[in-house]
Amino acid sequence: MSLGSPATTDLVTETTPVATSTSAGPELVQLLTPEGERVEHPDYPLSLSDDEYRAMYRDLVLVRRIDVEATALQRQGELGIWAALLGQEAAQVGSGRALRPQDFAFPTYREHGVAWCRGVDPLRLLGLFRGVSNGGWDPQEKRFNLYTIVIGSQTLHATGYAMGITMDGAVGDADTAEAAIAYFGDGASSQGDVNEAFVWASVYNAPIVFFCQNNQWGISTPTGHQTRIPLYQRARGFGFPGVRVDGNDVLASYAVTRKALDDARTGQGPTLVEAFTYRMGAHTTSDDPTRYRLASELEAWKLKDPLERMKAFLYKQQIVDGGFFEALDAESADLAARIRQGCLAMPDPDPLSLFDNVYAETTQVLRDEREEFAQYLAGFSGGQH
């Protein structure tokens, strides 16, 4: 063991990330093997209609298409940066589809797939990465909070929101009661805020699901630098259940999240779901993962691709025919074109909007600054400089 570096003891499961990060251990909940075989899990029965299976696959495909298009737009200078969800489609679509309309989701900056499930127009997401907005949609309307960039913060917001659900008496009924879900990453699990959220959620028995996408990396930092035991086990230190699900398995992600949400809404309190998955792309378009991880790791994970296995399942079950895929391709292409056009057409904000919405009730100091700046700008058009 090298001094000062993370420990290698018998407790450590993920110290040398390359060697171990693709193996999730026997505790992993899986309903669909990488080969597309449907398997059963006693705690997570699931039966979906063919339409539902197809809809899930459609989500996976469209969400990936959005992501690919956004990455391309960034490369072409239309976005400042993009945080790709490549590889995490199943975790996001599975959990996103498990949400009921009345539930409220608190994302990080990477939950484009969940946004899709909540009905947020992808163009709204692009606005943030293009730099025309720091937000972009009405969180209340979509019951999908704004992206939160400061790691971990949103887990406390979600917990407070969930406390409010309890205070409003909106816990109990299996159909109408509400729940909150907080998304965060493996890296985020080290932040004080996330652990405080666990304290609060547990003490207040809040109707919340903590959904951790363990994509094995926090930028260049492997999960083994954040924890020496599987992350889902963190929950047991706080007195609520944790479960590790195959995050590349959209059916398992759906079933496990749905149960956790139902437990929450019926008053059983919080659950931590660790979706074991993989960030197949760079951290963001600014990142260069070849500096810190081996190509072989990516290759190993490609065999577990969330789209491929669902596709194989649909084929094997004969749920789809060639026409389905063709139609989906066309829909994808249309979506991508719409996104591209919309992105290029997005106007830059008005300079004076700098001063808008700093407060609900603005101040004299800001009014004066705005006025002074407006005059300054007017001076230019008047040719003063």
Partner: protein, 324 residues
């Protein structure tokens, strides 16, 4: 009309807000059964229940972070930070979230959260219990910051802060908690963002807030005996600063001394000096002087009388100002 201490006036103000709006909830360490270490929320849990007055776990980031979530859900949380020196664990949630969510959401998400902080020294406490962190918050765009200095203001300002749709960091001059004054609860309060001339005068303006208002008033009384007429302005709002009121006063007197307990460098006094020096460039008869805490950590309590601006230091600065 009743004689109330400032702590009791705050308590009554909180009670009024809770009666007026069922969405108002109080949260913090020891605010419930104990009524807060300064008893500002005394009796409120008993009367409004544990779901409206919550004894939270011991973690300030958690208090502000969950309050933000409650605000998204439509609540109007009033968070108590037990002492000034314990707000820093919540700094990220305050500066990166609370202050920015309204702008981030283009006004779609309101953050009607009040963060109450007993602040300042002079009570003989141990480290971290006597700080004046207001400059950190007043420098932060998106926050509003106020400080109450007396029972009447306390009663109304806390209600106004709670009613505000913006996040308000609400500083309470802790060594003035026990000072009493008449509180006419039927009075019509001044707008929350207005400073107030609390004593008119003609020779020099003293600008202060929170605990130093009384110090300045005492100085003005003492100065009167020497035939000097000092005007005292209580800022009340530290962000936004009410420059029109300050400028008007300094235009009258031509001279300004700013007084605060916080360290001198990059404190509120610096901003007021900078603005007055610019705006009243042709009108000032002396440079703006500052009487403040030193640029040192708050000292052990047996040194706090040396550290804190007092009547003598204020008058010394008045002398200097008049010497120009």
């Amino acid at each position: 009309m009743a004689q109330l201490t400032m702590a009791k006036a705050l308590n009554e103000g909180l009670r009024k807000s809770m009666e007026d709006d069922a969405k108002v909830v109080i949260m913090g360490e020891d605010v419930g059964k104990l009524g807060g270490v300064f008893r500002v929320s005394d009796g409120l849990q008993k009367d409004f229940g544990e779901h409206r007055v919550m004894d939270t776990p011991l973690a300030e980031s958690g208090i502000i972070g969950t309050a933000i979530g409650l605000a998204i859900r439509g609540y109007r949380p009033v968070c108590e930070i037990q002492f000034d020196g314990f707000v820093y664990p919540a700094f990220d949630q305050i500066v990166s979230q609370l202050a920015k969510i309204h702008a981030r959401s283009a006004g779609q998400v309101k953050m009607p959260i009040t963060v109450r902080i007993p602040f300042g020294g002079g009570i003989g406490a141990v480290e971290h219990h006597s700080e004046s962190p207001e400059a950190y918050f007043a420098h932060t765009a998106g926050l509003k910051v106020v400080a109450c200095s007396n029972p009447l203001d306390a009663y109304f300002m806390i209600q106004q802060a709670i009613a505000s749709d913006d996040p308000v960091v609400f500083f309470e001059a802790k060594r003035r908690y026990w000072e009493k004054a008449e509180v006419d609860t039927s009075a019509v309060p001044a707008p929350l963002w207005h400073a107030r001339v609390v004593r008119p005068g003609t020779d020099v303006t003293l600008v202060a807030y929170g605990p130093m208002v009384k110090t300045c008033l005492d100085a003005a009384t003492a100065a009167e005996e020497e035939g000097r007429s000092l005007e005292v302005v209580d800022l009340r709002s530290l962000s936004p600063l009410d420059f029109p009121t300050v400028f008007a006063s300094v235009r009258r007197t031509g001279r300004l001394v700013v007084v605060h307990e916080a360290p001198k460098s990059i404190g509120l006094g610096a901003e007021i000096a900078a603005r007055c020096s610019e705006e009243l460039y042709y009108e000032m008869e002396a440079p703006v002087l500052r009487v403040t805490g030193f640029d040192t950590p708050y000292p052990p309590s047996r040194l706090e009388e040396e550290y804190l601006p007092d009547l003598d230091r204020v008058l010394h600065a008045v002398d200097r100002s008049l010497g120009y």
